[in-house]
Subunit: 253 residues, 2 copies
DNA sequence: TCCCGGATAAAGTCATACGATAGAAACGGG
DNA sequence: CCCGTTTCTATCGTATGACTTTATCCGGGA
């Protein structure tokens, strides 16, 4: 599974060897191909499997250990950490999930988190936004309107819209949740049939209503409308997931 | 500044050399001693400052780059990344902040985030908790009651209480915010005069009321009471911060 | 049976070398 | 004198082999 759109720099530079190794290991872990507790290929044995030096391999492991994906201990080896230890909100970890099949529970959980956070973020944005913030949000919205539905620039504008709202909250830790929101949006658009105009139009209206509330500096209204947006997006995404599951069941039957 | 309590394993093993280097660099970055865009000590020059091989140094940099603290590019050097790129919700990044002076804005921002998230988490916990979840939450509460105020076991029990609530939500991405909540608690207790019994008793009552709502499986009540708990904690912490600032101003005058 | 200590395997650290690349400086043409 | 091109060089990236440290395992002795 490959995502065609990837707005932020949440992807390791593929030119770098260590990045390729990290990506490979991470995807194996997240998809479950390497289950919890599994030993990673021994640092020496690994040279046989993929031709890469210990240096590059070790740097990749260090990178992953910082995200809680692996644990290395002398003598016992380097093992896949239990999922509870993973930093699921890390931008890289979120991005690596796109390489795996869609996990309905995970996507629901992300939407649930989003539903808790993003309306509050919209409230703060409405209250605290500067004119520059507003310009940025408006520009993103215009990008959604003026480009063809589901095209790459449109998706990027959608992501930029939500990111701009987070930026307007002036709360850096809160802003760190923007990648999680982006992930739900990308999942939603990834699952969608690219000719589904109905949802796109509805989504556009949802966005416009949020923007309007932020223009008015009406925090409560912005929060309420953002809730509506997220719920609409969740419902349509869950519908798509169900359809996908059904289609796959029919195909294998 | 040194925090005496550190419940989770959010601290790099200090026995490992690479961990010491990473810690040192991270603290320098977070305190602002190494400002944005500053070049990190050259990989070769660094050997003069602290006697460490390139290997250990590079692994430390890789570790930090995964958290957005630094950016390494061939030739141009390894530079401190802009703060917007930092993953402020990463457990390590949160922990490293304790090595710097308290940053009021940052602590306020964390509390703000907590106020958005934790009441919702409490609601879910009340709705979804298993008996085992409840046992865990109750055990943590007992740990707060039965140990002396502000002692290490008490603090750990406090952290465990909130972590258990997150665990009961059955939402792994949401659980990843537990370290951020823990950080606010640790800041609050760090700033507090260790003989302040008044706040401790009030906090205990707040916790008991939340626990009671979870026992009753009353989601709305749990959310409301958790809001109260967080707000009480925020207010007392801000008071302590103000007192601290005042004391320092008086001392320097 | 339990405890202690050595063997051992794996990660951790070091030193060195070479390759690749982007920026800087030197150079040359207009 | 200015600007584009070339060359140079500093710095990161990768590779390799040796040595150190650490934790587990296992066997011997009390």
């Amino acid at each position: 599974m490959q995502l065609h759109v990837n707005a932020r720099a949440t992807r390791l530079n593929p030119d770098r060897l260590f990045g390729q190794v990290a990506h490979r290991l991470a995807v194996a872990i997240i998809t479950g191909a390497s289950p919890t507790g599994a030993l990673l290929p021994n640092e020496d044995d690994l040279r046989d499997e993929i031709s890469v030096s210990r240096t590059a391999y070790r740097e990749a492991v260090k990178f992953l250990s910082g995200k809680g994906l692996v644990e290395a201990r002398p003598k016992s080896g380097t093992r896949v950490a239990p999922r509870e230890a993973w930093n699921l909100l890390d931008p890289y970890v979120l991005a690596w999930h796109f390489e795996a099949d869609p996990n309905e529970k995970f996507i629901r959980d992300l939407f649930e988190l989003r539903l808790f956070v993003e309306p509050s973020a919209a409230r703060l944005a409405a209250q605290r936004r500067s004119d520059a913030d507003l310009k940025r949000i408006e520009a993103a919205f215009r990008g959604m309107v003026e480009n063809p539905p589901y095209a790459a620039p449109t998706v990027n504008a959608d992501l930029a819209f939500h990111e701009a709202i987070f930026a307007a909250t002036r709360n850096p830790p809160l802003q760190c949740l923007a990648p999680a929101v982006s992930a739900t949006i990308q999942w939603s658009l990834f699952l969608k049939a690219p000719d589904d105009r109905f949802f796109f139009t509805a989504s556009l209206i949802d966005h416009e209503r949020v923007l309007d509330a932020i223009v008015q500096r009406d925090g409560d209204l912005a929060a309420a409308r953002m809730s509506g947006l997220v719920i609409d997006s969740l419902n349509s995404t869950l519908g798509l997931l169900a359809a996908r599951v059904q289609a796959e069941a029919a195909k294998s039957a």
